[in-house]
Symmetry: D2
Subunit: 341 residues, 4 copies
């Protein structure tokens, strides 16, 4: 089989950088056009100095022309910028959008949470959700999930799908700072984030809330209410989510549902009994580490799951979807091993 | 007034070090005997090199003799070691126990969570809880709360006391590593904790769970179920807790209850609207920063609160109780200002 | 004695914040006007949330009028902004400049390293340098040293003053990120600095180089060449400097010179034998921790010293100078104890 | 070609874990026996949870029998344990020692720095040093360099080999904590290392000093004196070294020597002008990032270089040597791309 020719729009950001890190190690990938907005014209060496083999590559201006003749185009653009570009890319080009534009199915939710016109929804790129893999196989358009929805949805879907918990879930997720991107904001300065954990987007204010609710409601087959609180921790990468819902089921019963749901999932790792997730287990890997228990005093299922927000939570999940879209084995080129310590 | 002569049992650990840092800046404190277990005979300079003015002080063996003639003795000992020592200290000596031995009122809970015989309960050192300050004024024995119970109880008590939320609360609290003490455990090595968030004691397995439940049940006047998950974050100090419970009240109604409860509390800071807590606000200070909202979609109150686990969460809270016990203004010698950035 | 009325120009930055943290704990300080540039009109609560007792103070526009009737004005302004404001402040107002404008005595050096006209030099605010304390006592104008020059000069001056080392020194200093201020630069984002050490201003390119050379040449009484390399480490505060020069003297001989030089210095701590500095020892304190040895194979003196760049390296040193200027004991209100762990 | 069957002695430590991470991604590697000391009998899942694909592998007792029939055996053992095991492994087994036992050529130096009998020296595994690659090609025994000697030697060898600097060098190197291994020592606790930079092994006391001197003296063809100071920074991985020596040559002249020396080295990256190394560029990669300048005022060459201490500094360097030893292309299976941010 010939190499897959791949372009990346938004190659100077964190998601773009992680896509390139993964594609450089992907045995079937040929890296084609790399584009940017304000950084167009610069070499990648100054912007992504960890990508040594691409140091001399010059970024082009983002636009459809740059991607002519490419098999796959990844979009790692600010929210609201994907739809217009995607419309200009041929329907036989696989377009994989790491942004939010095509994730929500409900136009009303889009308007409430993002504002403006809804660009329509694409197949949702989380193959491990029930029934989702089939929709992604040979897909031409894929909406890659947000990082928080990836971990929260995979942490709770099996219990909800099996009807083992009540439809009212609480998710507290601690994230590294790269989830906020390279934007120059005072609260993202190293001096501010090191040595500190802080809260933001509390009370349903974070845009990933409706996406989590959409996924969980679909898994449960009924509306699920989600209380979601994101926290910022002093680390560049990683998300650890604590997820809970009331239950009358036993831990064994619930564990069985998870084992069944994820038995054949190469990227989802139910930890051995007594071991609880750390984001360190997944750093730079396309994996999710998960453990669960039932707290009998509280009457609650507690599920803790960890991912790397840039890998399984963004770029790794995107490459996984690309593999499905172009007919490669789903795990091709994707690290199963974290970088630790 | 003459100076208060103060001894510290367990001066080589993190709680002992923080007690001494605060006492060195306390205008009425005279630092007397400092004792240790295995570190007895060594100077403090090698063990607590940040405590420059005490560098040449030699640690004595922990025991009642060392504390003869002291007005106040702080116990910063491993759980289970306080009762025996306290029994040998005269009843006119103020004994303030930073350990767990005398926190729980229910002997059954003590046996289940800590094992062994219950040593009985002492006045609980959280003056900001309803009705608690009176019990601490001129007290001769004080049980200083655990760090997680401090932040979780203060975050939720006003809503529960006002009957504004349901009696089923979920608390996820992210802590710095000093909460685990100086014990040499592999998962506490710098290489393991830096760059990572991890979970431990999940599903009600952490010993602070019954203490939180005890406080909240007392505040509510009825039994409260608590789902508590502690997480470990890559920072030396600080706890940020995300606390939630179902509610039908409005944010305004609830905020009013908090404003009323904490109007005269010098160490509790309700943040201005739109500002959410960061542990950085409270580093090294005896303060608690708090913000709340109601998530109408989820039907939940969400309260986020931050403290320094070693200051308000342990040693600062202990000094606050000492002030009450010996008749000093409650804020004497206690920092209201965090060290940031 | 009546309280000293103190104003701070540049109260929204890191140096300004640290000045206020220290002044809040200073028993003779009355905090007067607080001013800012772009942040004027805002309350301090949003800008310096750790300064709880000043949360409601509104920042005024920086200008001489704001400081009328003040005894002391601290300037924490960008380089080049101090001279004009100082000229408008009465000659009986004590003006303490935390910026670089009045540090260098050589106009040529000023032009080369900073550009523009030299504003003239003021008494240099490092009382621990030979002969310097007398110049600061009752001074009306003080130029507070840079953070790197503080630690490097105190680490090497005794050896040079005693003629015990060759006049060619190498200084490598690792700094926390707050030294770079609150400027929004990509390389200062938390995602970039966490988990990484990097170099900048290498080869004599950093503006603190001529200031170090000036101090050391003055101490030695002859020109000293300085190779200075600053590194950035993943921590908010602290500088650790490794300083070396060729020597034929013994470690004992050199140690004696340091003991003599610093015997009565309350803020300089020669560590006990076998103990080496960590920035943790000095966090939030106005202290410098120092240790030295002679490497016989290399024929070199090696001195390692640590400070908190914002405390002894900026704001604490500034308050120390204020104490001298207004006739207070030099240590008044200054922490000798670090915040650790 | 058939797969290379590889064993690892010391698979539960940090070096062993990094070897396995790299070998899992190596296209020609078949992972054979994994052994440990005290951890024998346990599965790798609990000890190296980031190595998901090996979670169920049981560690055997370290000993020659375990490695029968293996093509390559990596030794990641405490110093002093390699020689005995290596002697029992057949002479046609490639043995690659990540420990120090066979690095030093001078028995006297071994006795002084490590104590006990010298086990003899093996080909030194730094192919980028002058003349070294030939000695490693098809070698049956390889002594992998220490992490500090790797970065310091590569940073200075070209200038010394070209006779462009004086034979008296100063190296200050900042390391992440994984360089100290998994040993349970109080100063390696997360609470102690986070937020702090500290010094250790100062004044030539670190065992890597004679190894650096050996390499540089060999490159220069005359004895080189080395002043080496290691510092510990709050990050799990990475070393950044600042290296300087007096020179009368120009920056251009020296740069040319480096360009010539490293023109064909796939893992050594001379950064573009104006860009200085950060350890982030090399995280998890087998690369070294380097920049240099001449400081005309100080009369010194300043070279800054960064590596990942566990990759190029230990396990990656070891795999690079294995590739040379077994006849594979030198870069096989080795990441050229860092994990950033």
């Amino acid at each position: 089989m010939r190499m897959v020719r791949i372009g990346v729009a938004g190659a100077s950001g964190y998601a773009g950088g992680e896509l390139l890190r993964l594609l450089l190690a992907h045995p079937e990938a040929e890296i084609g056009a790399l584009t940017a907005g304000g950084n167009a014209g610069n070499t990648l060496g100054g912007l992504q100095p960890h990508l040594l083999p691409l140091a001399d590559r010059v970024l082009e201006e983002t636009g459809a022309e740059a991607f002519a003749g490419h098999d796959v185009v990844f979009l790692a653009l600010p929210h609201g910028h994907s739809a217009a570009l995607a419309a200009q890319l041929g329907t036989d080009t696989v377009v994989i959008d790491c942004g939010a534009d095509h994730r929500l199915t409900d136009p009303e939710a889009w308007r409430r949470w993002y504002g403006g016109e809804h660009a329509g929804s694409w197949p949702y790129g989380l193959p491990e959700l029930p029934g989702q893999r089939a929709k992604l196989t040979a897909a031409k358009r894929v909406a890659v999930p947000g990082c928080y929805p990836t971990v929260a949805s995979l942490a709770l879907a099996p219990a909800l799908a099996a009807g083992l918990v009540e439809p009212d879930v609480v998710v507290t997720a601690v994230s590294g700072t790269s989830g906020a991107g390279k934007a120059l904001k005072p609260h993202l300065l190293g001096s501010e984030v090191m040595g500190a954990v802080s809260a933001y987007g509390v009370g349903g204010a974070h845009r990933h809330t409706p996406e989590i609710a959409q996924n969980l409601s679909q898994a449960a087959g009924r509306p699920i209410t989600v209380s979601f609180t994101p926290l910022l921790a002093p680390m560049p990468r990683g998300i650890l989510a604590n997820c809970t819902a009331r239950t009358e089921a036993s831990a064994e019963e619930i564990l069985e549902a998870y084992q069944k749901a994820y038995a054949n999932e190469p990227f989802i790792h139910l930890l051995p009994e007594g071991s609880w997730p750390s984001t360190a287990m997944t750093l730079g890997a396309n994996t999710l580490a998960l453990q669960l228990t039932v707290d009998p005093d509280a009457g609650r299922l507690v599920v803790v799951a960890a991912i790397d927000n840039l890998t399984k939570g963004t770029a790794g999940g995107a490459v996984q979807c690309m593999n499905l879209a172009v007919g490669l084995p789903e795990t091709t080129g994707l690290p199963l091993t974290g970088v630790a310590p």
